[in-house]
């Protein structure tokens, strides 16, 4: 029995090799740590937040950070520690949802456009039109129509970014479609589904993964922009954006209100950008910086 195993060549472990290279990429690890902190903060919010993020306290208004209030309080005496943690959770929910929807629909649409020549012109024409809009403006327009809610923000951000993801998937599929090993699979009689799922998509994953990590950053940032403008989740739901909008009015007297969620947001986006850069360096060094 063991002879069969002995006959095997040394198993190639592409995933493990990639992981080892990523773990040696200093900036990737820095990004992973930053992102991990925010992710854990979001997951732990129900236990770690302590007080209700919407609990108003007229006697605790404008308290700077102290032992009682780790991050201080806002104009209504609400705990910023609690609000920032719940805001982290909301950012993570939005980021994960938008990334998941993009992974599914971006892949389907991109693969269809890249693989089915008849659909390519049609899909890419629509894609180009969607991408002609400045991203944040389109997100604002769609959210304005759908109405303010977390779900609607997720829908709006997905509509805005799926064409961008689809474009990247399509680009990989078009190149891979013409590869000799794919032609060989066609000649061997493999069906379309098998060719796409077994031969093309696994090799199109690298640029997709890179894109999705940057997309997470845009989703978090754009959601914060929408709620900063008063278009995101409805108050009193705490989001980093709406805490910052409140804080802007008390900039000189209580600068911590805007600074704390601002720094949290910046570190999250920084972490994700570093993560994306690291993934690009390791997985797909040909890719350049893309917004």
């Amino acid at each position: 029995m063991s002879t069969i195993e002995d006959d095997d060549e040394a198993p190639s472990r592409p995933w493990r090799d990639t992981l080892v290279r990523l773990m040696h990429h200093r900036l990737f690890v820095t990004g992973l740590v930053l992102f991990g902190i925010v992710l854990i903060a979001g997951l732990a919010a129900p236990w770690a937040a302590g007080v209700d993020p919407s609990k108003i306290g007229m006697r605790t208004r404008f308290k700077p950070p102290s032992a009682d209030f780790l991050f201080g309080t806002d104009n209504l005496g609400r705990s910023l520690w609690s609000r920032t943690l719940w805001g982290a959770q909301l950012s993570m929910i939005i980021g994960v949802s938008v990334v998941a929807l993009n992974a599914v629909f971006g892949t389907i649409i991109g693969a269809l456009a890249g693989y089915v020549r008849l659909l390519d012109k049609l899909i890419m024409g629509l894609n180009d039109a969607m991408m002609a809009f400045p991203a944040v403006l389109l997100a604002i327009g769609i959210t304005a129509a759908l109405g303010s809610s977390v779900l609607n923000v997720i829908i709006a951000l997905s509509i805005v970014y799926i064409p961008r993801t689809a474009r990247i998937v399509r680009a990989s599929v078009i190149v891979l479609r013409e590869m000799e090993y794919v032609q060989a699979a066609v000649a061997a009689g493999a069906g379309h589904w098998r060719i796409l799922s077994r031969h093309i998509m696994p090799n199109a994953l690298a640029p997709l993964i890179v894109q999705l990590s940057f997309l997470f950053a845009y989703a978090v940032l754009t959601e914060a922009t929408l709620s900063f403008l008063g278009l995101g989740a409805v108050p009193p739901t705490p989001t980093w954006g709406n805490i910052m909008a409140d804080g802007r009015q008390y900039l000189t007297d209580a600068p911590w209100i805007i600074t704390i969620p601002g720094v949290a947001l910046m570190l999250t986006v920084l972490g994700l950008n570093l993560l994306g850069d690291g993934l690009r360096d390791v997985l797909d060094p040909r890719l350049r910086i893309q917004p």
Binding site: G125, L126, D128, A129, M130, A132, F133, P134, A135, V136, L137, L138, I140, G141, I142, T143, A144, A145, L146, G147, A217, L221, A224, T225, F228, L229, G230, L231, G241, M244, R248, L251, T252, P255, I258, G262, V263, L265, M266, L267, V269, L270, N273, L274, R288, I289, P291
Partner: protein, 315 residues
């Protein structure tokens, strides 16, 4: 060259048609009756009926579409309820403000972004390079609505050098414009500066490795001449393509920045329109800014063709 311009303009027509169709569709994403939503709580049935007929919502969908495109052909984007003014007129009044701010932002982006990227590439793996790239990374990751209030705190509140908001027309007072527009333009440019510095650095590093740069060095040209005439001139081609992206980001950013600094441009108008459910104004703002962007991208393409003979002759 004229051929390139014509081809690009013709190529943009389907995109613009679809862009206007998508803008039209936004009104139909509104759950329920758009006319009721727009009229607000205190509206009378007459108000609702008025809005419905103004927007053509009383017609079947195809009729609405005809109404929309007929309006576009006549430069009629509807009436703004908020301003009691023609939408296109309101937008065109504010467009110069947004464009002047974006242009200022673009100049800052190009100056600082390219200089930073070139410097980092020339001093690769030194402390200068690292500082520039850390700065660029922070620029990319810093939300403009966090950076802008910090700038206000430092330069307006603390030092009192620049106003914390408001706007002065360039024609009325160039100096006043410069003072009022500087903080908004810097806040607006931050992201693109970071982006451009990174792209310039990687492009320059690639170009500096090319044979013709080595040849230029070997024949004894000075460092400045090699960098300026040989390397940067070639690196400018990929850099040009980023300009289109930068302008897209500048126009997107104008919404937040104009709101923060109370600049009376399209960005601020759009925020007010959205918060007041003034959908014709939202649609108009989106359509005009996107059209501006499409035209800018054509201009960038043409510039690209002018700079790179391979594109000019091949295309």
């Amino acid at each position: 060259m004229i051929g390139v311009v014509v081809a690009r303009l013709l190529g943009a027509i389907p995109t613009l048609l679809l862009v206007s169709l998508i803008t039209f569709a936004i009104l139909h994403l509104i759950p329920g009756d758009p006319a009721v939503v727009m009229a607000g709580l205190s509206a009378t049935p007459q108000d609702v009926a008025q809005i419905r007929s103004d927007l053509g919502l009383d017609q079947p969908l195809l009729g609405q579409l005809v109404h929309w495109y007929a309006g576009l052909l006549h430069g009629n984007l509807g009436r703004s309820l908020l301003l009691g003014q023609d939408v296109l007129e309101a937008i065109l009044q504010r467009l110069p403000v947004t464009l002047s701010l974006s242009l200022y932002g673009l100049v800052l982006t190009l100056l600082i972004g390219v200089a930073g990227g070139v410097l980092a590439a020339l001093k690769q793996n030194t402390i200068v390079d690292q500082a520039a790239m850390i700065g660029a990374m922070i620029g990319i990751s810093m939300p403009s609505f966090f950076f802008a209030p910090l700038m206000v705190l430092v330069f307006a509140v603390h030092f009192g050098w620049l106003p914390s908001g408001g706007y002065v027309n360039f024609i009325d007072s160039p100096l006043g414009w410069l003072r009022a527009a500087t903080l908004p333009a810097v806040s607006l440019a931050l992201l693109q500066v970071g982006l451009l510095a990174r792209i310039t650095r990687s492009t320059m590093l690639e170009v500096l490795r090319q044979d013709y740069v080595r040849t230029a060095r070997a024949k004894g040209l000075s460092g400045m001449s090699v960098v300026g005439k040989h390397a940067l001139a070639n690196a400018m081609i990929p850099i040009t393509t980023v300009v289109g992206i930068a302008i897209s980001l500048l126009l997107s950013g104008s919404v937040v920045i104009e709101t923060i600094f109370s600049v009376p441009g399209i960005g601020q108008l759009l925020t007010q329109a959205v918060l007041n459910r003034d959908y014709p104004l939202v649609q108009g703002g989106l359509l005009v800014l996107t059209t501006v962007l499409v035209l800018v991208n054509i201009a960038v393409d043409v510039a690209y063709a002018a700079m790179d003979p391979r594109v000019r002759l091949g295309g």
